[in-house]
């Protein structure tokens, strides 16, 4: 007897995942610093069913010195999404990208990148 398939058709959802949003922003940093300071995203599985993405600043000229800017965590549903250590939670993509824009263009982040640039040029 042939086995019955209860799964139906499966395709990936056409959404911008938090990971692809973070990767887009990571790729945008290098060209602004002539690749002296770059950004990358590392993904790992967390406890339970969560996925954690770590957004990092990397300085190749300083033996790949790496500074973790922030980490986000979400489950298979993508949202809600939590910024780890800050306990902020966003329910959708718009809320997340608004926060991300503020975070990346903040004085604190700019100062960090400037300091790393100064360090590598000294």
């Amino acid at each position: 007897m042939q086995a019955t398939d209860f799964w139906g058709e499966i395709g990936s959802t056409e959404v911008r995942t938090p990971l692809s949003i973070l990767r887009e922003q990571a790729a945008a940093l290098g060209p602004k610093t002539l690749n002296l300071v770059e950004a990358k995203v590392e993904t790992r599985r967390s406890y339970g069913q969560s996925i954690v993405h770590s957004f990092q600043l990397v300085v190749p000229a300083l033996d790949d010195y790496t500074y973790q800017l922030f980490e986000i965590e979400h489950g298979a549903d993508l949202y809600p999404l939590t910024v780890k250590d800050e306990e902020r939670t966003f329910g959708n993509e718009k809320q997340f990208t608004d926060w991300l824009q503020k975070e990346l263009s903040s004085e604190k982040t700019k100062k960090l990148v400037s300091n790393l640039l100064a360090q590598v040029r000294s």
Binding site: G30, P31, L34, N35, L36, E38, K40, P60, A61, D63, D64, V120, R121
Partner: protein, 267 residues
């Protein structure tokens, strides 16, 4: 592109050369230019975005690439050798090794052959670990293509034609040795012009070759099949700038005492 720049501040020249030849990966030996200085020169043009590919430890080889360094990860490094895994999206992974072996000033030919044999064993070990033999080995070997270290089965075992290299391995006394194709053999002599190698050294000795091809590219047969030897050049000039003197010898006053080698590889 591979270039032994002899500790010279040639950032602008390297950047111009990389631009004119559309270079994707720059491998340098004897590079004392700081990473920021070279990146500033390489990325001065808006469309060009080179990345520094940091190693895990200090090495005589410095690498920059037009793609993210995350695609070129170190698998083995020593003072004189850097073996990297190059895995670009939608392309077969290859091993790219850069080397700068000891100079004839500090090592006799037998010891140099020993270094080549150690390098050959290391490469075979890394090939076994990654599970393929798509390897390109580039650098200043300080040994000519005809010397034991480059030719011997125990050494780098490199041969002058793709047809022979195609055998893959050669059995000597019951042991199998992997072959490399060495396209540099095509670059000896003056058929192309006055430059008959990549390095010139004149000494008052009975045996004097004058011209040397210490700077070489060795390719495993798996990749050599798709390699066109006419796409490997020893660069003597580009964009109206001469790197060689009128007698064909490297012009160390303008560039380095070695000439750069540029090549194209499909994988």
């Amino acid at each position: 592109m591979f270039w032994n720049i002899n500790g010279k501040p040639l950032a602008d020249l390297i950047a111009e050369l990389a631009h004119v030849h559309g270079i994707q990966v720059i491998i340098l030996a004897e590079c004392t230019i700081t990473v920021p200085d070279l990146l500033l020169a390489l990325n001065r043009r808006k469309a060009t975005r080179f990345h520094y590919c940091a190693g895990r430890q200090p090495c005589a080889i410095t690498i920059y690439s037009r793609f993210s360094s995350s695609f070129l990860t170190p698998v083995f490094e020593s003072k004189r050798v850097s073996i990297r895994r190059l895995s670009l999206p939608a392309q077969s992974e290859i091993l790219l090794a850069g080397v700068h072996l000891p100079s004839k000033r500090y090592m006799n030919p037998d010891s140099q052959a020993g270094e080549c044999a150690a390098l050959a064993r290391q490469i075979a070990h890394e090939e076994d670990r990654v599970g393929h033999r798509r390897t390109v080995l580039v650098g200043d070997f300080n040994v000519d293509p005809f010397e034991n270290g480059m030719v011997s089965a125990e050494g780098l075992h490199s041969v002058m034609t793709r047809q022979i290299a195609k055998r893959g391995v050669r059995r000597v006394q019951g042991r199998d040795y992997r072959l490399f194709y060495n396209p540099m053999w095509n670059h000896f002599g003056d058929a192309r012009g006055l430059t008959a190698g990549s390095y010139f050294y004149d000494s008052a000795e009975h045996v004097n070759y004058f011209w040397h091809l210490f700077d070489q590219v060795l390719i495993r047969p798996e990749l050599a099949e798709r390699f066109d030897p006419s796409h490997l050049k020893i660069v003597t000039s580009f964009a109206g700038r001469a790197l060689a003197r009128t007698d064909g010898r490297p012009d160390a006053a303008v560039g380095s005492d070695h000439l750069p080698v540029v090549f194209e590889l499909n994988f």
